[in-house]
Amino acid sequence: MGDLDSLIRGGLRALDITEAQRELVVSRYTLLGETLDEHWIHTRGDNAVSPQGSFALGTVVRNVHRNDDIDIDCVALKDVAKTSVSQAELKADVGAAARAYARSAHSGGPELSQCSRCWTLSWPGMHLDILPAIPNDDAGGSNIWITDREVSRWLPSNPGGYAEWFRNRMSSELHLERTIEAKRLEVEDVPEWRVRTVLQRTVQALKRHRDIFFSGRLDERPSSIVITTLAAHAYTASGDLYEVLRDVPSQMADHLTKVQGRWTLPNPVQAGENFTDSWASDPQRAEHFFEWVEEAERTFRSFGMSKSLDRTLPLLENAFGGRFASAAGASLGQSLFTARQRGQLVVGNRGRLATVTGSGAASAYAVKQHGFAGGPAR
């Protein structure tokens, strides 16, 4: 109790999407998908809206620079052949459907805006980016074509394949976490979204640290896909969350290579795509990445050197923000209080407090119930 692993988990839980928000996201993109499907009645028929990015990977973190809002990415797939539609037509087409959806009765009245190649639906506290796409019939499977930022070329993409790759990096842990959670809830099975593995938590922590580190210069942030891919490569599935977080930043750069003078991080499921492509035209991006990852390593190591909770919590606040630090403190305070209330608190060598689960503590050192009081001298 009170170790860095549980403190960081307590903080990260406050950056998670809540269950109610998750249900809202699912209902919104499902309804959007139905609207698109009606709008595209003359296509081959497999039109779909599916989440991609952090929502699909289980690594959503609230946007600290936008009131801790939730940002979700999804792909709107129009099931037509590449020869039958231009990039600009597809984008306009998705925009028209999104507009129809925004006006519909059950949409909650979001605002619609557009960026270079996508559309954004905004509700209070939540933003849904919609990326227009068509199937990549040549490559098959979950491969798709998306438009480039100028909306003039097709680019291959495979967010579904990437999510599968990421899931494979933590498959045994995912299975274990689901079994533990099912046992805790006394149910047969729990859905994947209900649990967070150490790798998912690590990615969340890295992204949050990046967002805080680049406050005031957000354009310089390394992209989430670069961080997620490097963390997944560096992750070795050993140790608790703090140990992994302490070790991963020092190994992330090992998975970047230089090919003919260009930094390269291949998309693990998309041959030929380099996630660090933009670093060649803007070499400062590489500098910013290395500046950040070195600072992350230093910062995470410093947590372990702190010898008092009242010093650790301010370190966590500097690294991950106030919402995180408050939640980390409150989570520890509440779990200590609850453990004692339930008779699950035990005391070990030199007064170390710990919890036991199950029917209660039967050890000689089980802590008895009490209340604090105080005031005038006895």
Binding site: T312, R340, V347, R350, V367
Partner: protein, 149 residues
């Protein structure tokens, strides 16, 4: 008459001292027929500081526990949560402890709890030790008491 708990055989001070030393092996206990004085170092969590505690007990009386090192840090008005004005920690309410109970299951871990809640209080200005229903400003103000080391 008294409650069934109050009638159970009391734990003698030598037994209390032995139990304390089993949890904190390098601690020191001084016994006289009517008094136990114990000093020991505790560290309630891996991220916590090490604190030296002093426990003074007489038969059948609730013991008095003070933090001897490091010096506790009250707020700017000189107050700490749940302390007596003699500087000892207030760790129980009437009925929480009876003489048949070991200090190792009561006052020692209760003091460790107090210290963990204290470190959180230093960082957050919130005392979580009275539960989630006592985090409002009025409840938090009511649990602060003048402190002198």
């Amino acid at each position: 008459m008294g409650s069934p708990a109050a009638r159970r055989a009391e734990v003698s001070l030598p037994v209390q001292a032995l139990a304390l030393r089993s949890v904190v092996p390098d601690s020191r206990a001084r016994l006289t027929p009517q008094r136990l004085l114990w000093h020991g170092q505790v560290r309630p969590s891996p991220q916590s500081q090490t604190y030296e505690l002093r426990l003074a007990a007489s038969p059948r009386w609730t013991p008095r526990i003070t933090v001897t090192r490091p010096t506790l840090r009250p707020d700017e008005d000189g107050r700490l949560p749940h302390v007596y004005d003699d500087g000892s920690l207030c760790l129980s309410r009437p009925g929480d402890w009876y003489p048949h109970m070991l200090f190792t299951a009561t006052f020692l871990p209760w003091a460790c709890e107090w210290l963990l809640f204290y470190e959180l209080w230093l960082a957050t200005d919130l005392w979580f030790g009275d539960g989630p229903n006592h985090l409002d400003d009025a409840s938090q103000a009511a649990l602060l008491h003048p402190f002198s080391a």
